[in-house]
């Protein structure tokens, strides 16, 4: 993602030499039930409208709206950091969605500054998700940020924060196992099939029964480029429907045995009693496919595949309990990775803080320059007025010399201030510098007017 500020017209707070804080208000699956989350959710158009209104109403100078099925969050940089912006944001949010403010206690969480950035990074990492480590949230954050960039509601601070969040999300998924192992029965089945065949691209699959979990498996298989897909179901209409939806072929129930030899992956989820696939059927199918391995996922309860079939050579059979146990194992493994993920988040939050402090440090050079030049101009006006005989050329020369003097005086402090690492933790010294030169906290540099040269 490009680091270009989308809204150059917005002056970040650092232009006034102040620390820039991010404010956040939101609700998620932990703080609000689905009925409430539905009411507070934003469509893409509503998100654009809300971000624009927040800026137009002078509440925020930068804004990004993140809205998924499990959370709605408003990230922003307040126009005035002295006023707690989260209250105004909450007021805006409830007014926007026409929700009465009574009874909202505990529904929203508010974070500001470092805590808001940390929250954003935890969201990106999937640590704040209902399904720990899920990857979808990273795409949703990317989309929300990309939309905000498009309609120009971001600025340098949120650009930096969101780009950092996307980096954190990617890094945590690459360096930890928080998102590594399957967390659903359907996905676990597909991942196990990959342990046998490697790439599932071009492999054949047979779906016996068209239950909801089987649909999820088909979805995962399709995402992995499975080749030929056949669907067998007692109800031919349902088989037809599923086959059509996923680009497969419906096969009559009576032909089940005859099609068993072609699939590499078989998924069963048929209701009723007694096994649908017996050991003898599978044995003959493996024979017909010259011993090539078959991976069978039995999602049926009671089981659809004869348990004796597990002993067949080159047949790998997993039932719903086996998969459930793997999912539980994986959940524990993901939880064990949380400390490592948190360490990466802490590292990136610290980086963001350094950048934010450097932003404030860098801006004081401009303030000092403006301050000195204003004094220089006042002094020149006074002194040149007392020299009526000086020619225009001499006046210009004197002006140039004073300008050069101010710039020369600022060379060294500028260099020092721009070394951001060295300035970390020296914000107190910057305040002292402002105080020493009489630059006001509001950045007006004693006199009225722009601080830029």
């Amino acid at each position: 993602m490009a680091a270009t500020p989308s809204n150059p017209g917005l002056a970040p707070r650092a232009a006034h030499g102040r620390r820039v804080d991010i404010a956040l208000i939101g609700c998620n699956h932990r703080t609000a039930p689905v009925e409430f989350r539905e009411r507070i959710a934003f469509t893409a158009e509503q998100a654009r409208h809300a971000a624009t209104s927040l800026r137009e109403q002078g509440i925020l100078q930068e804004a990004v709206v993140v809205s998924t099925c499990n959370r709605s969050e408003l990230y922003g940089v307040p126009v005035d950091s002295d006023i707690p912006a989260t209250e105004a944001m909450e007021e805006f949010l409830t007014a926007f969605h026409r929700i009465p403010r009574a009874g909202l206690a505990g529904r929203f969480y508010h974070w500001a500054g470092r805590d808001a950035v940390q929250h954003l990074y935890r969201v990106a990492a999937g640590l704040d998700s209902m399904l720990l480590g899920e990857a979808e949230i990273l795409g949703q954050l990317r989309t929300a940020y990309s939309h905000a960039l498009d309609y120009g509601s971001t600025g340098p601070v949120l650009n930096r924060a969101f780009q950092g969040a996307l980096e954190v999300g990617k890094r945590i998924r690459a360096e930890t196992e928080v998102g590594a192992r399957p967390m659903s029965v359907a996905f676990a089945g597909v991942k196990l099939a990959e342990r046998v065949f490697g790439n599932l691209k071009g492999r054949n699959a047979l779906i016996v029964g068209a239950g909801a979990v089987a649909e999820q498996v088909v979805d995962h298989l399709r995402n992995r480029g499975i080749g030929h897909l056949q669907v067998v179901n007692r109800s031919p209409d349902r088989a037809e429907e599923l086959a059509k939806r996923f680009g497969g072929k419906a096969v009559p129930w009576q032909s089940l045995e005859s099609v068993l030899s072609s699939p590499d992956v078989i998924v069963t989820s048929v209701g009723g009693s007694g096994p649908v696939l017996t050991r003898a059927m599978l044995e003959s199918a493996i024979g017909a496919r010259a011993g090539r391995p078959v991976f069978v996922v039995d999602l049926g309860v009671p089981r659809n595949v004869d348990s004796d079939a597990a002993g067949l050579y080159n047949l790998y059979l997993y039932n719903v309990d086996d998969l459930g146990e793997i999912v539980e194992q994986n959940r524990r493994a993901r939880e064990a990775e949380i400390p490592r993920a948190e360490a990466i988040i802490a590292e990136h939050v610290a980086k963001f803080e350094v950048w934010r402090e450097a932003l404030a440090a860098g801006s004081i050079v401009d303030e000092l320059r403006g301050h000195f030049h204003r004094h220089r101009e006042d002094l020149l006006r006074e002194r040149l007025a007392a020299l009526p005989l000086a020619s225009d050329e001499e006046r210009q020369r004197i002006t140039q010399i004073t300008e050069d003097l101010v710039e020369r005086l600022l060379v060294e402090p500028s260099e020092r201030l721009r070394k951001t690492q060295a300035m970390r933790g020296h914000l107190g010294a910057l305040d002292a510098l402002r105080h020493l030169f009489g630059i006001s906290e509001k950045g007006s540099a004693g006199n009225s007017g722009d601080s830029d040269k």
Partner: protein, 271 residues
């Protein structure tokens, strides 16, 4: 004799092992690339170690068991790196590099500091014959490692209780293809190596000794690996049984490399 390059190659292989082991625990593309780079660097250092030994004994480095073992390890590393690029699979790297480190350290520790006998000059044909056959052994060694990993993965998959490491190692199909590739390399180098050996002997004596135990066992190795390649694609053998066969075949290679060379053959002995 100084073993500076040997020690350096051990150190670089060990660093490569650390990276390969790290990516098993925490997958990271850059550490994976670093592991491959270090392995390639180790191969370069190891090459100079072999050269160092050659200069010292005034002959090719494999005239004694230690030099031959070192060449075996070098060719194993080369073959593995080639397969890694071919199959885009790094997760077996930790196993291969750990074996390399132990193997070369053993060679360095036990190799005598004196030349046991002045080796006769035998010319490039002979050098190529031995190198290619050693390469074949190294490739079969690699297929042995891959087959063992296959059998472990297969067992874990059948037990339905996959461990954390299970998710890190390659899929059965990938292991099977890697193992077969390795056997193809072994058979190809063996065919050329043995042919050159026959050519060398014919030039030397005007005839070929078919009854030498080394020749007999080498031909047996050729047959059993060909059988593996054939059976591993047939019903009833495909999969774990073929992997078991491949692993067992390597014991014949070991027998040929040790007992035959040390005690049974007359003109294939180490010096």
């Amino acid at each position: 004799m100084h073993h500076y390059m040997t020690y350096l190659s051990i150190a670089v292989y060990a660093a490569s092992f650390a990276c390969y082991a790290r990516i098993l625990y925490v997958p990271n593309v850059w550490i994976g690339r670093l592991a491959s780079f270090l392995l390639a660097s180790g191969i370069v250092c190891h090459y100079f170690a072999l050269l160092e030994r050659s200069h010292w004994i005034h002959a090719v480095p494999y005239d004694d068991l230690y030099g031959s073992m070192s060449l075996f390890a070098w060719l194993l590393a080369v073959t593995y790196l080639g397969l890694e690029f071919l199959h885009r699979q790094r997760s077996v790297g930790a196993l291969v590099t750990s074996l390399l480190v132990v193997w070369i350290a053993m060679v360095a520790a036990f190799a005598p500091d004196k030349i046991l006998a002045e080796p006769p000059a035998r010319g490039p044909l002979f050098a190529l014959h031995v190198t290619l056959n050693t390469w074949a052994y190294a490739a079969f060694g690699l297929s042995f490692i891959l087959s063992l990993v296959y059998l472990v993965q297969d067992r874990v998959l059948r037990s339905r209780h996959p461990s954390a490491a299970f998710w890190r190692f390659p899929a059965l199909d990938v292991l099977d293809r890697m193992s077969r590739s390795s056997v193809y390399v072994g058979l190809a180098t063996m065919i050329v190596g043995v042919s050159l050996g026959f050519l060398y002997e014919r030039r030397l004596d005007g005839s070929i000794t078919w009854t030498d135990p080394k020749v007999v066992v080498t031909l047996a190795i050729f047959v059993i690996y060909l059988a593996y390649l054939g059976l591993s694609r047939t019903s009833g053998w495909r999969g774990a049984r073929a992997a078991r066969m491949c692993a067992l075949n390597f014991f014949v290679v070991l027998f040929s490399y040790t007992a035959v060379n040390l005690y049974l053959t007359s003109f294939h002995r180490f010096l």
